[in-house]
């Protein structure tokens, strides 16, 4: 039963990882950008929610109404003002610039909020749980998972069924020809980053309700998201969800074996997938 429980908890945790990953997957899909600051932006969103909730006396979930648009706007501005200037064939400029951002965000948060861990106070949502079949699952993890499925479903729909999605895919295919269709590359990239950070905002708030966070925690979140993307296969959003779940289950089962083994087990599963299926389990696109 303990093991079944671990698998169930891990699956639900995978929802959170899929949310970490969805934003990464999106910007990689549209502009082949890997944003090193992604994890720090997740943490930044959690802090933003902390201040919003405290300042306006809101529930952290209600703070989403502020944090999501704020992060989306920041994403658009960041892309147009900074990252677009680095988007050529060479991978180093975007990597370095987002690395620089990562260090700036971390230390900015350190100055603003100190290194002490913080948590978003969500009242009964934190402890509420449901029981069935001898299993007890928290309402928060369940909600997180449901939101992850909803977000990924919505992104999938946006990507394959809307004009915006067509613009994203066309720009991803051939940037110059997309310009001929009247698509301004800089704007399309800005929109992709805005969307990515909107999802990131949701992920950050859910993270902050679930566990304590501190300014240095971005790296680990980037890595979990990245692992989910690679395990699932590049360019496949549902694959990313599956990747998140696999990672979550690996960690939960690993933690069940030995507490010190939890995170390591996730990394090892990732490396095993890399060794056996370097393009991920459900690849759709060339890396």
């Amino acid at each position: 039963m303990e093991w079944v429980n671990a698998v169930v908890q891990g699956t639900l945790l995978g929802g959170l990882y899929a949310l970490f990953a969805a934003g990464l997957s999106l910007i990689f899909g549209v502009m082949r950008l890997v944003n090193i600051a992604h994890g720090d932006l997740i943490v930044l969103a959690a802090y933003l929610a902390l201040s919003t909730a405290a300042g306006l006396g809101l529930h952290p979930l209600a703070a989403l109404t502020v944090v999501v648009p704020a992060m989306a706007a920041a994403g658009y501005a960041l892309q147009r003002g900074l990252i677009n200037r680095t988007m050529g064939g060479d991978i180093l400029p975007p990597l370095l610039v987002t690395f620089g951002l990562s260090v700036i965000i971390q230390n900015g948060l350190l100055m603003g909020y100190t290194a002490d861990p913080q948590k978003l106070q969500a009242g009964t949502l934190e402890t509420a749980s449901l029981s069935a079949l001898g299993l007890t699952v928290g309402v928060l993890p369940l909600l997180t998972f449901a939101l992850a499925v909803a977000v990924i479903g919505a992104l999938q729909w946006m990507f394959y069924r809307t004009a915006l999605g067509r613009a994203f895919r066309a720009t991803s295919d051939r940037q110059d020809v997309a310009q001929l269709m009247g698509l301004n590359r800089a704007h399309v990239f800005g929109l992709a980053m805005a969307l990515s950070l909107a999802v990131t905002a949701l992920a950050g708030v859910l993270l902050g309700i679930r566990t304590a966070f501190d300014p240095a925690g971005g790296g680990a979140r980037l890595i979990f998201g990245f692992e989910a993307v690679i395990i699932g296969g590049l360019g496949n959003l549902w694959g990313t969800l599956a990747g998140g779940v696999i990672l979550g289950v690996a960690q939960a089962v690993g933690g069940q074996i030995h507490p010190g083994f939890q995170i390591l087990a996730g990394h090892l599963v990732f490396l095993a997938v890399l060794a056996v299926r370097p393009r991920g389990l459900f690849p759709k696109m060339e890396g």
Binding site: A163, R166, A167, R169, A170, S172, D173, R174, D176, V177, A178, Q179, L180, M181, G182, L183, N184, R185
Partner: protein
């Protein structure tokens, strides 16, 4: 001649250090069909890409209805009503045929062309609309690329290598529909390897040679010898 829709004057274009075009001068009148011919590497593609905004910097070198547009971003040029059918078709591989057409029409310019009109022109595309571009024959892909450009309801359509790599049947088919497409509100510039055919369907032509206009004039009155000289510079 009526007032020029597109007027090019003194256009130099570089690929890095390599100069591909030298002081090109050319004009296209509204509703007119113009051929650009020349040997491989003469600069035909470079010229069309420069007009479409993908290359070149100097604003005054290209004018659209009198307004300088040289070096303007390609998406802005497209919005003015200039559509390019690029060499090699360059459909979007991850979009279906119908999506390729739809994205061509995303700017919402008014005009006769919409999905239904393109499907009427190329009925095979309706049958293949859910297919990926790679699943179509070369001729069908060229139809889709032309359809994608038409969807923008441009005032000027630039077609690079209209028949390259196509079977004779497909070429004949394309040339049959061409006069029906152009005229009225739309002018066209076509790049074509088969000079005889190009001169037969157009009113005027420009022949490029190593980045310069070697010969230009009325398509109907030019001699084979003159073309040959302009082509190869002998």
């Amino acid at each position: 001649m009526p007032e020029a829709l597109l007027a090019i004057d003194g256009l130099d274009v570089f690929h890095g250090d390599f100069q591909a075009l030298y002081g090109i001068a050319a004009e296209v009148a509204p509703g007119e069909m113009v051929a650009v011919i020349g040997a491989n590497g003469a600069g035909k593609t470079t010229l069309l890409r420069a007009v479409a905004g993908l290359l070149g910097r100097r604003a005054a070198a290209i004018r659209w209805k009198g307004r300088p547009i040289g070096g303007m971003r390609a998406d802005r040029v497209a919005a003015l009503g200039i559509a390019l059918v690029p060499e090699g078709r360059l459909l979007f591989p991850s979009l279906s045929i119908e999506e390729n057409l739809l994205i061509g029409g995303r700017m919402g310019r008014r005009g006769p062309w919409d999905l239904a009109a393109v499907y009427r022109l190329f009925p095979i595309l309706r049958e293949r609309r859910g297919f990926a571009p790679a699943q179509l024959s070369g001729g069908q892909q060229q139809m889709a690329a032309i359809g994608r450009a038409l969807m923008a309801n441009p005032e000027l359509i630039l077609i690079d290598e209209i028949s390259l790599g196509l079977a004779p049947v497909a070429i004949r088919q394309l040339y049959e529909v061409l006069p029906g497409i152009v005229g009225e509100g739309m002018a066209a510039v076509i790049v074509e390897q088969d000079t005889t055919r190009a001169l037969a369907v157009t009113r005027r032509f420009y022949c490029l040679q190593e980045g310069r206009v070697a010969l230009a004039g009325a398509s109907g009155s030019v001699t084979r010898e003159a073309i040959g000289r302009a082509y190869f510079g002998v």
